[in-house]
């Protein structure tokens, strides 16, 4: 299933709701669904706010696929992209009191696989996978 969504905060709710519906049907338990939903939420906020910067001409594409073992979500924006190595470490003592910068950390903690790469022709693509039967939190 692929959703092409506007760069609005309403799209964050839409994506979260659709992924959670798939996660429930796949058989993830309540805590796992919470982790999946939160990861999608964080990723969508990044795509809408930091990637597309609410630009009405830019879309966020959400691809959801599931099998008997796993749920995969790929979220791509059309922004300028960014270099992860330039992001401050949110767990460093000097960064603990920063207002923002924890979204990627939470996605990585909650999902079993997390990859981020440039999206062709521009933007950023995040791929996240959660496996049934694994519990990483």
């Amino acid at each position: 299933m692929t959703l092409v969504l506007e760069s609005t905060l309403e799209s964050v709710d839409i994506a979260e709701e659709r992924v959670l519906s798939e996660a429930a049907q796949a058989g993830f338990d309540e805590d796992q669904q919470h982790h999946i939903g939160m990861s999608v939420r964080e990723c969508m906020v990044n795509a809408v706010v930091h990637g597309n910067r609410y630009n009405a001409r830019k879309k966020v594409t959400v691809s959801i696929s599931r099998s008997a073992e796993r749920l995969e979500v790929i979220i791509a924006d059309e922004g300028e992209g960014f270099d992860m190595s330039n992001l401050p470490d949110p767990l460093a003592d000097e960064n603990l009191l920063r207002h923002s910068g924890r979204g990627l950390l939470l996605m990585q903690a909650f999902m079993d696989e997390f990859q981020i790469r440039p999206h062709h022709p521009r933007g950023t693509e995040v791929r996240m996978v959660k496996y049934l039967g694994k519990n990483n939190q």
Binding site: L9, M38, V45, L96, H99, S100, L105, L106, A109, Q137
Partner: protein, 110 residues
């Protein structure tokens, strides 16, 4: 979100979602207003918080910084497992004092 006074400690009973948008904004505004009105001993009761995202965490940290810089303190009460997990993942357990007992939390301010 409601506030009540227990001695000189202001207990903020937070309810629902603290996420990007209205939830986090209302939370931020409430903390700022209390700080502006001289309330510098804030206890956030998070028992009824159903969901908090990184924006909500950011507002908690900002509130902590604002009040601490004014010589006050922000402490946390009654964390759900999910909020507790978030504080562990983000290492904010090392920043916030956390309590499960309101009376003990209130006493800790004195």
């Amino acid at each position: 979100m409601t506030t009540r006074q227990v001695g000189d400690v202001t207990v903020i009973d937070v309810v629902g979602r603290i996420t990007l948008g209205e939830g986090a904004s209302a939370f931020r505004d409430a903390i700022r207003e209390l700080a502006a009105n001289g309330k510098k001993k804030l206890l956030l009761n998070l028992a009824e918080v159903s969901y908090i995202d990184s924006s909500g965490i950011g507002e908690m940290v900002s509130g902590f910084t604002t009040v601490t810089n004014q010589g006050g303190a922000v402490k946390l009460l009654n964390l759900t497992k999910r909020v507790r997990d978030l504080l562990q993942i983000t290492k904010l357990y090392t920043v916030f004092e956390v309590f499960d007992d309101e009376a003990a939390a209130v006493r800790s301010f004195s």
